[in-house]
């Protein structure tokens, strides 16, 4: 661009673009899905490409709540509290079929999908989902974040 040239854009898009590459996740890991989460988070799949390489272990510093693994009724209030502690803007990813629907658990102990407790943005099915599915879900989440209208 030479002197005096310019381009226009929407502030929403600029913020969305910045946010989608600065995903600070809070991994809420309760079960075997955690292994696939760790596989995805390690160097082989390099999710730093998506700006999601730095998990935060405090909900107050995180943007995206990764709910990884079966949630029991006893754990439900804890998950709700962690979600409440996160600051806006925040997104939730349901990782694995147990968090999506309860999965193959249909019993006295298991919550039938975490969307009965908190709102969910992206569902990643699989038992457990392969890292490719996780990255696909992560990219869909990025699209959602980028397209989101901002509140000022």
């Amino acid at each position: 661009m030479g002197v005096g040239s310019f381009f226009t854009g929407k502030l929403d898009e600029a913020i969305g673009w910045a946010r989608k590459y600065s995903i600070f996740q809070y991994p809420f890991v309760t079960a075997c899905c955690g292994m696939e989460y760790m596989a995805t988070a390690c160097s082989h799949y390099d999710i730093d490409r998506f700006g999601a390489g730095l998990p935060r272990f405090s909900p107050r510093q995180a943007d995206v709540l990764f709910v990884v693994g079966t949630i029991s009724h006893k754990m439900a209030p804890v998950l709700k509290r962690v979600y409440d502690q996160m600051t806006e803007p925040k997104w939730v990813v349901a990782f694995g079929v147990c968090t999506c629907t309860g999965g193959f658990y249909d019993n006295y102990a298991t919550v039938m999908g975490i969307d009965t407790i908190i709102p969910v943005d992206i569902y990643i099915p699989g038992c457990p989902p392969r890292p490719e599915s996780v990255i696909d879900g992560l990219m869909k989440l990025q699209d959602k974040i980028a397209a989101q209208a901002q509140r000022y």
Binding site: H73, A76, A109, V111
Partner: protein, 162 residues
């Protein structure tokens, strides 16, 4: 089997039934004599069952041949480190009077085991210091390992403790 014979000799009718199928030594004990038998098993030098390996229960609702009998068995698995031998004791309890004396005073490990049996089967343990649910939460209704607990019953979701 010397242990079972010894128990029968000492406690007589309180030992309701015994069997030692393939060295699986089992005695069914009358509830009134349960504490005395367990205390003897722990303290007798020749028995010395110093470990309560497990304490659990079985729901025999609609079990073939036991439709009319007592509904629950509470099961005690004992192990002796000194003698390296084992014994299983059972006590039968009715649904209407589902309670057995607590053995926390004999083996402290029984504290959580009895809480689990109370939680899952609804069998009370008289004299337990703190008989609360162990695995499920306080608001949970019913006892999920009872055979008549509906497998797909939905419990109300509980909110964060305030």
């Amino acid at each position: 089997m010397a242990i079972l014979a010894e128990l029968q000799r000492r406690f007589g009718d309180a030992i309701v039934e015994i069997h030692d199928h393939r060295a699986d030594h089992t005695a069914v004990v009358a509830r009134d004599a349960l504490l005395a038998v367990l205390a003897h098993c722990r303290d007798d030098v020749a028995l010395a069952f110093d470990v309560l390996m497990d304490l659990t229960a079985v729901d025999y609702l609609k079990f073939p041949g036991r439709e009319d009998g007592p509904r629950f068995d509470v099961v005690y698995h004992l192990y002796s480190i000194t003698h390296n031998h084992r014994l299983r004791l059972k006590v039968r309890v009715d649904e209407d009077d589902a309670s057995v004396p607590s053995v926390v005073a004999l083996w402290p490990i029984a504290n959580w085991l009895e809480r689990e049996v109370w939680d899952m089967f609804g069998v009370r343990f008289e004299g337990h210091p703190d008989l609360r649910r162990l695995l499920m939460y306080e608001e949970f209704v019913g006892h999920p390992l009872r055979k008549d607990y509906p497998i797909s019953r939905r419990q109300p979701l509980i909110g964060p403790a305030s």
